[in-house]
Each structure stands twice: as C-alpha cells, then as structure tokens.
C-alpha cells in the first residue's frame, strides 16, 4: 500500500479545538467544577505510612464538624472493593499498604471545611515494616507481604493470566514465560556473550491538570459525571456498572476538555469514589486530588528490573536471548493485570534473537499502585535489550546502525512469540535518525568539562487490541454532518484526525462537519484512548460509519428519484447520478420540506438525518501455550528510532541532551503536524524519565518529592534548541489501519533512554545500568572509572 495523501487525510489540518484553547474558552473538568452549583467538596485523608495498622479511627468529631455532609471509609458496607482500580481501594481491614492510600473521604459544603474536618479525625497508626523496592520484595521472606490473600480468592478476570507454579516470594503476583526451545544450545554457539542487570526508576505521569471528578446528582438519582478521566463508555460507565451495580440508564458520563492523560487516567480512581459519595449523600460532589496527591494517590508507572544475557556471532548476528524481567507494580491487591508480559513484549518487536527464553513476573511493594503509562512497560524493558546490543556492537567493532539492521525483523518475519510482523518502518527510522545526527561522525569536543557523545537505538511498542470503537455519522437535512464519537481527546488531536477521515470518505468539505464527543447519552460506544489505539480503532469505525452513511444515501437518493443506487455516487453535498436527466443533484433539496401537508412516513425528511453507523473491533488475540507463544498475541506494532547527542559534565555528572532526531513509523499519518507534536512531546517526556524523574521516599515510605519543584519533569530548558530537534515520519502502511494509519504516541518514548545511555558511554566511557541517569549516578561511575584506571 502506497502512502495515501488525500484532500484531508495526510494534510496538516488545523486542530478543531485550537480556538477555544488559545482564547481560554475551553472548559476543563477543573472549570466545570467551578461552574457547578450546590456542590459539596470531597477531600481525601491519605496514609503517611507505607505500611501500618490503623489502631484507632474515630470519626465522631469530624462528623459533627461544620459543613460536613458525609464521610466514607474502607468499611463502607456493600462495596466490592476488590473490583475497584487499585489506587481507589481505600484502606481495608484497618491496614494501609502504601503511603498515599486513602483512609477516609470527607465531603463538606466547602473544601476548607472538608480539610478542617479531616484534621478532626482521630487516627492512630502502628507502623509496620515496608518494602519499597524490587530487591527487598523479591526475598523469600520479605518484611512485608503486600497481599496475603493472593491466590486464595476467586479472581474473575477477562485477561489471560499465567499460572505461577512456584513463587520465589509471596510478593510475586503474576508470571509469564516464553521459550522457543533451544536457548542453551544456541548460546553455546555465540562468539560473544554479554550478561548484565538493569533497573529503572518509578515515575508519575504528572499531567498539568490534576485528577478531578464532578458528579451531579439529579432528583431521580441519575448521576451526570464529568471528569478528566478516560473512556466515558468503556472505562467509566461500564466500569462503574460493574463495580457499583449502577444501572446503565442512571448514569450519564460526559467529557470536557482534558488537561493531559498519557494513559495514566485509564483507571476510574476518581469517578468510582466520587459517585459512591454522591449516591450516599444524594448530593452533587466535586472531588479533586491536589498536586501532592497526584503523586501519592494517583497511579504511578512500574519499574522494570532485568537480568539479561545475549549471545552473538562475531559478525553481529544475535543467536540467543535469555532474559528475566520483573515488573514492580506497587501495592496492588488482587492483581490480575500485571504478569511481566507487558515488559516482556519488549522482545517482540524489533529483532530476530534466534532463540529466546523469557522469564517474567510481577511483584508488589508498599508503593503507589502502578497503572498504564505511555509505553506500557517497554521503555523499561527495551532499555536493557538496546543497551546490551549497543555494547555487543562496540565490543565487536561493528557500527551501531549495522548491528541493528543485521538483526532487524522485516515484514513477514516471525518474532520470538511466533507472530508474523505485519508492518514495520523501523529500518527507515533507523537510517534517517542516523543521518540526521551524523552518528558515524564523532562529537566535536570543546575542551571544557562537558564531554560529548552520540548514540542510537531502536524501539517498538505493542498495540493491545483493546475492544471496539463505534462511530455515527449523521448526514443532516441541510447537508451538514454531525459526527458522533466517544473517543478520548487528551490533547493528541485524535478528534481532528477522525474528522479528517470522515471528511475524506464523505468527500465533504471539512467545515461542514461538527463533532459531538464523549457523552454517553448521545455518542456511541468506544473503549478508551489507550495503547495508541484511537486512530486505528476509532478511525476504522469512522470510515465504516461514513461508508455506511454513503450507502444509505445512495439508497435514499435512488429511491427519491427512481434511479437504482448502483448508479448514484455521493460526493460531499452532491449526488452524482448516471442514467438520469440531471447529472448532479444537491442532496439537501431531496429532503421533504417541513410543511404539515407534505411530510410523509418514508424517505428523506427535513429535520431527520441519514444515519450511518460503524463498529470496529480488531481480531481477538490468541491464548498462548505453555511456551508462551502463539500466532497473535498483540494487534500490531508501532516503531521508532532515536539518535541523540549528549554532553556530560565530568565534574558534576550532569547529562544534557543537546541534539536528537526521532523517527516514528506510525503507519500513514492522518495529520503529519499532529504526529510531529507527538514525537516532540514524547521524546521530551522520555528525556524526563531517562535523566531526571524518580520517586524518592522519606523514612515512612512516603514520596518525599511529591511536587513539581522536586519531581523533576523537564522544562523547556531540558529540550535541545529547535535547530537540534528533528522529528521524522517514516511510515509503513498498516494493512488494516484506516488509510494505512497505525496509531502513535508511544513508540517514540522507548528508544530515547538507550540512545542517551550509549551517547553517555561515547562521551565519558561509562555504561549505566539504570535510568534515570541522574547526575549522582553518572558522577559515581565516572569516579569509579578514574579510580580503576589509576
């Protein structure tokens, strides 16, 4: 399939929401809350201890405090807490299992009154030992067992989960293994073997808008819910029906403008608690997490810990991969989601390893429960793979690009899981970033303490086939179009791209199309915006809906004028008719006028649109065998390559990215400028977690750097200057994507850290074993190297 550039698809259509955002007219959840009248404000009391027993919880003074309307604790009767998203599970059985877990929720007439009442809660803790890191939790006898009930419950899950036959620790709560069968023999044929351990830090999405939910309580008990969460149908409405038994006709979920998600809003942590309070007190409730609570109480992202052994021939051909990788998923109870497989999928995308054996697991700790975040585990795991490949190349004296090209999976090749790669643009991505940063030319040194170096890395990211999307096209009787969608719009511009697809298929001027988005009483089902699925899944649904609408229009026009639909084509507002006295008809003239004498029961009627509907769901994945393999474990893969030039200060250890090129294979881009924006934003975010972002804990196990002053998200200064930033699109059309599009937003975050790591090696001769590559870590390695040399 060649690259498609149409009238709208493939063009840099301006964002449909830009006007309201630049004028301040766009209303976000935080603004909707200000406009909501007669609301109570709910505030959370969170645990300051990572692990403790609550020995006293006396609410009597708080209940009587001025303005207090309701209080909820983990003892609230009739609640199936274990079905809740992990970060919303309030302290159960008088035990808190992470610092930031909610102990009580207080709703009062004003926020200050809620905070005052919280101070009147008489609470005492008995501090218990906690585990914060992988190495403490993986012990056979850890000082804290996070979920003692694991394995003893009847767990209902719709995700395939592997059995854990032998747990090395009671905090191992998920497992996934893969074995192509002959790793040990293959490893024996290697000329070079590198065996290393890697780990990564823990991060928070830190969207600029903190989580907020408003539940308006209607007189008949129906709730109108407005939040900056995701997935009005798939996550919120269906989720809350399941968790709280709310009837589908008693809940309406709407989505105002959204101040960022990055996947982290996938769990309805705010909505479930807000609606619980609203239904309990029969009042409208506003519930917001403060910026601090966004760190302690909203989801984190899981570190990946790897022990990796890779063997290669001296010409660079990789022959074997033997890899242990663990996902540290925080204080999850009743885990049915994390198994290690997401991190393990880092081995699926890019390379032919020859033989592969992967042993992966998920472990719990007394830290903020993890949830989805841009990259879904592969930035953490591919870091290990890429760093080892870079080291093998260096040791063998092979150019970094050649090493990768030699082992790349090409279209039709099978990966270690047994899947055939359906589409990959990785080779072009690698070559273009290599050229852009001139990786083959060493950096120019300026003689100062800042030493420069370059590095390059590949990446892939899995797309999970996450359910269905639906779209409705209403072709109105005045030839305007209304597009009904329930996709998430977290800033990526998906809605604009979807509108472009509709305009392209309908051949309709894009100004004629308006979008109604994300109102569960008005717009059709969509799961959510995650795993870069929206362009692909909802895009296909829009295409189908538009095609359905066109088919219906052909029928209706044909019927109206007595021509068989086979001789009617629809182009925008016109019908092109063959075998008729008039070659072109403006379709709106065929709608019967609103006049009491002339309205009928059939056909095109003024005021009633022609309705096209589309449903799209990717093919299901297969359950894998005992060897962890099957022909379809993920839906498709998106790819990226990154080349970076860094400078490292030999005296302070600081790492600065001074130049980068990022190339993405996103399939055919629907809107290249929006894709560029995702590339630049994604790399910037990855620079953050590659060199600066991490959780640091106080002695109680609470995140000490729980604000944007101390949790170091990158500012404009951490981005290279514009002339040193290159975003390149290298599409390989996806056969099943709309106009060949895949989806994007994630793959570009994955190769940044290993590219930086290799660049640091070329700058100062040290190899990191982890990210964030903080100044302290890098300086320590620089000093160790100096001492070893002396």
């Amino acid at each position: 399939m060649t690259r498609f550039i149409g009238k709208y698809v493939g063009q840099n259509q301006k964002r449909i929401d830009a006007y309201e955002k630049v004028t301040g007219r766009a209303l976000y959840a935080t603004d909707v809350a200000v406009q909501t009248r007669d609301a109570v404000h709910m505030h959370a009391l969170v645990s300051p201890y990572a692990h403790a027993k609550i020995t006293k919880l006396d609410l009597s003074k708080a209940e009587k405090a001025p303005g207090v309307v309701g209080i909820i604790t983990g003892e609230e009767p009739g609640i199936d807490w274990e079905s809740f998203p992990k970060d919303a599970i309030m302290a159960q059985n008088n035990e808190v299992i992470w610092a930031g877990q909610i102990v009580a929720l207080v709703a009062a007439e004003t926020l200050e009154q809620a905070k005052d009442a919280i101070e009147l809660i008489d609470i005492e803790y008995e501090v218990l030992p906690h585990v914060l890191y992988y190495w403490d939790t993986i012990k056979p006898d850890p000082v804290s067992v996070v979920d003692p009930m694991w394995g003893k419950r009847d767990v209902v899950t719709d995700r395939p989960m592997d059995e854990i036959d032998e747990r090395v620790s009671p905090n191992v709560v998920g497992a996934y293994k893969l074995d192509t069968g002959n790793v040990d023999e293959a490893m024996k044929t290697a000329d070079i073997i590198i065996e290393k351990e890697f780990y990564t830090g823990k991060k928070t999405a830190s969207q600029m808008e903190t989580p907020l939910c408003t539940c308006i309580y209607e007189p008949n008990g129906k709730i109108i819910l407005s939040s900056n969460g995701m997935g009005v149908h798939g996550v919120v409405k269906m989720g809350l029906s399941k968790m709280l038994g709310i009837k589908e006709n008693m809940l309406r979920v709407v989505s105002p403008h959204n101040g960022g998600s990055f996947g982290s809003r996938l769990a309805p942590i705010m909505e479930v608690l807000c609606i619980m309070m609203a239904r309990k007190i029969k009042r409208t409730v506003i519930y917001r997490l403060t910026r601090e609570q966004q760190f302690t109480t909203a989801p984190s992202n899981w570190p990946g810990i790897s022990k990796i052994k890779m063997g290669a021939k001296k010409d660079g051909t990789i022959v074997a991969l033997d890899w242990y990788v663990a996902e540290e998923c925080g204080a999850a109870i009743n885990n049915s989601y994390f198994t290690g497989r997401m991190c393990a999928s880092g081995a699926n995308m890019c390379y032919d390893f020859g033989e592969a054996r992967i042993d992966s697991c998920a472990v719990t700790t007394n830290t903020v429960p993890a949830a989805e975040y841009r990259g879904l585990g592969v930035p953490e795991s591919e870091f290990a793979i890429e760093c080892v490949i870079s080291e093998i190349a260096d040791q063998l004296g092979i150019d970094q690009l050649d090493m990768r090209l030699k082992n790349l999976l090409r279209k039709g090749d099978k990966n270690c899981v047994g899947e055939a790669i359906t589409s990959t643009g990785l080779e072009d991505c690698l070559k273009s970033v290599y050229q852009s940063v001139k990786v083959d030319e060493p950096s120019i040194q300026d003689g100062s303490v800042w030493k420069r170096g370059k590095g390059i890395a590949s990446a892939g990211k899995q797309n999970t086939p996450l359910g269905r999307s639906e779209a409705t096209v209403l072709w109105n009787s005045d030839a305007t179009v209304t597009l009904l969608l329930s996709n998430d719009e977290n800033g990526m511009g998906a809605t604009t791209a979807l509108k472009q697809i509709a305009a392209e298929v309908l051949k309709m001027p894009i100004e004629n199309i308006e979008v109604i988005r994300a109102d569960t009483d008005a717009t059709p089902y969509d799961n959510y915006g995650a795993s870069s699925r929206t362009t692909y899944t909802t895009g296909n649904a829009v295409r189908i809906a538009a095609m359905d609408c066109i088919q219906k229009l052909r029928d209706e026009v044909g019927r109206a004028i007595g021509v068989h639909p086979i001789n009617v084509e629809i182009e925008g507002t016109k019908a092109i008719v063959h075998g008729y006295q008039v070659p072109e008809i403006e379709i709106d003239t065929l709608f019967k006028p609103i006049n009491f004498f002339e309205q009928g029961n059939f056909g095109l009627m003024k005021g009633t649109p022609v309705r096209g509907h589309g449903v799209y769901c990717p093919a299901p994945v297969l359950q894998w065998g005992a060897d962890g393999r099957c022909a379809r474990q993920w839906n498709w893969y998106q790819y990226s390559a990154c080349a970076a030039e860094v400078e490292v200060n030999e005296e302070t250890g600081e790492v600065r990215v001074i130049k980068f090129a990022s190339a993405a294979d996103t399939g055919n881009p629907i809107n290249p400028k929006l894709v560029e924006g995702q590339i630049e934003g994604g790399v910037h975010m990855a620079i953050g977690f590659s060199i600066m972002e991490d959780h640091f804990y106080d002695k109680n196990g609470m995140i000490a750097n729980r604000n944007l002053g101390d949790y170091r998200i990158p500012t404009i200064m951490e981005m290279p200057k514009n002339e040193n930033v290159a975003s390149i699109i290298c599409p390989d059309a996806l056969p099943d994507g709309p106009f060949g599009a895949k989806g994007m937003a994630e793959s570009i975050t994955v190769p940044v850290a290993p590219a930086i790591a290799e660049a640091v090696y070329n700058a100062v001769g040290i190899r990191v074993d982890s990210y964030p590559m903080t100044a302290e870590k890098v300086l320590k390695l620089i000093k160790e190297k100096k001492e070893a040399a002396n």
């Binding site: 600081e654 101390d710 170091r712 990158p714 200064m717 302290e776």
Partner: protein, 287 residues
C-alpha cells in the same frame, strides 16, 4: 488557606504595633511566593497577614558613595535587571536572577527571600558576598545586624516580636575586588539549589588576597560562610593550587544533609567543584 484579616499599614510604627498585637499569629507577606503556598498547605497558620505595600521606604533604592540602600520590598526582577546594581554589585544581581523563573522574580522580593531564611536561598547570597547589613525596625527603633548573623536556623531569624526588616545596606565594593554567586541545581534556576557558592575576593597592591568572603547555600541549616577557608587564603596569592586546597578544606569541613534533592556525599563533591569555580570567577572579576 484561611486567615481572618489582611492588614496594610501605612507607616512603620503601625506595622510594628500590628506585629506586637498579633505576635506569632501574624505573618508578613512580601511577594507571597513562599508564604502563600505554605498557607495553602496549612504548614503555616495565622490569624492575620500583613503586607508592606503601602510603606514607601520599603521599596526605595538609593545609591550613594557609601553604598546601596535596598528596600526590603524591591523585587528580585528589579535587583537582577537594574543597571546600577549590576554595575557595582554584579553578584547581587546574579544571585537574585537565579531564583526560579521570571514569574516568581517579578513579584518575589529581596526582603522576602531573606526573611524566609531558607538555607538553600539564592538571592540572599548576593547580600552575603557583599557583607550587607540588615536594617530592622522594632518598637525601640532601628537596629542593624550583619547579614550572615541574621539567620539562626532553617526558616528562623533573629527577628523578635514586633520587628520586621525594612531595608538592606550594601557597602560599595572594595577596590580591586570581584564577586560572584554560582548556583548549582539539576534543572537550572527552576530547582532549589543543591549547592550554591558565593565569593568575594579583594586583592592588595601585590595581588595577594586582602579580604575574602566565601559563602554557601544548601549545605547547612542556615546560609553560612567558611571562615576557615577565608583565613586559609588571606594574604596569599590565589593560585590554582591554593584554590584546590581551599575547596578540599571546605568540602571536608561541611556536613550537609541527604534529602530527596541530593545525597550528602554528592553535596560535598559539588561544594568542592563549585567552590573552585566561584573562587576562580571572583578572582577573574578583580581585574
């Protein structure tokens, strides 16, 4: 955040009397960039907040042959951009210019920075390197305190009940002297300093050190000077070797803490690196 009353005294004596009336139940506000977040988080709780915006002397900038009279309410923006202050007291302008971002500096004040008394504060280091005097108004009139003696602990100063800071007196720098302030943080000015080093070197006719100030941010409970290092280099040629020796001495004699911004080991390393840089820079500026 809640308090009962916002007061805007129009004279210094009115301010003193308000402070005496409310005691620890009132706090002064200048730019608000430190106090307001603390009030919001309830780390500080008061009945009254007192703003000095109606007191003209608090905003004055007077430069004469003796030096600079800098009102407590002069913004960090003004201190960092004033060409007269930059010309004679460049390290003060630089130190003020290292605080956070434009938005903060546009309302934050030099007096607020000093009275907030954070051990990591940058702007006040610019006063320390020039040996400034703090002018305090109280019920018994004005008293003066050398800047480095003003701080007694994290967030704590020598101010007694009924007292507030009205201005700073910054003497004209000596002949043949150069001063600098170096801030070190990972996200540049955005971050609170991991370490900060200020230095002022004056040379005699032979090019030897006639006087020295070496001061530090973020390595002790208060902003401090290293009197041992200052004595070490007095009367000597400030060679690279002497600078190295001074930096080692400083590093070995200080005891910073480990917190979520940096470990104490790293801070000690950075003190040595940045003490060297500051001394070299101050020396270069003596020309």
């Amino acid at each position: 955040m809640r308090f009962e009353k916002y007061c805007q005294p129009t004279t210094t004596s009115e301010c003193v009397s308000l402070l005496k009336t409310y005691g620890s139940e009132a706090r002064m506000v200048a730019g608000g960039t430190d106090l307001v977040p603390k009030l919001k988080s309830r780390a500080v709780r008061v009945k009254a907040v007192i703003g000095l915006e109606k007191i003209a002397e608090a905003k004055q900038i007077i430069i004469n042959e003796k030096g600079l009279e800098l009102g407590a309410l002069v913004t960090l923006r003004t201190v960092s951009k004033s060409s007269e202050i930059k010309a004679k007291w460049p390290a003060l302008s630089e130190a003020a210019g290292h605080v956070s971002s434009d938005q903060i500096r546009n309302i934050a004040t030099i007096g607020g920075n000093v009275c907030n008394a954070s051990p990591s504060a940058d702007a006040l280091q610019g006063l320390i390197v020039y040996d400034a005097i703090v002018n305090i108004v109280g019920e018994n009139g004005t008293r003066k305190v050398p800047i480095v003696e003003f701080f007694v602990g994290p967030g704590k100063t020598v101010l007694e009940g009924g007292e507030f800071v009205i201005s700073f007196t910054v003497p004209t720098p000596k002949e043949n002297s150069g001063a600098t302030y170096k801030k070190f943080a990972l996200r540049g000015d955005t971050d609170i300093s991991i370490v900060g080093v200020g230095s002022n070197i004056a040379l005699d006719a032979d090019g030897k050190v006639a006087s020295a100030i070496i001061s530090f941010a973020a390595v002790a409970p208060t902003p401090i000077r290293s009197t041992e290092a200052e004595s070490l280099i007095m009367g000597k040629q400030l060679t690279d070797e002497l600078i190295d020796e001074a930096a080692e001495l400083i590093g070995n004699n200080c005891s910073p803490i480990t917190d979520h911004r940096a470990t104490k080991e790293y801070r000690v390393e950075m003190i040595k690196v940045w003490a060297k840089n500051a001394l070299k820079d101050a020396l270069a500026r003596t020309k």
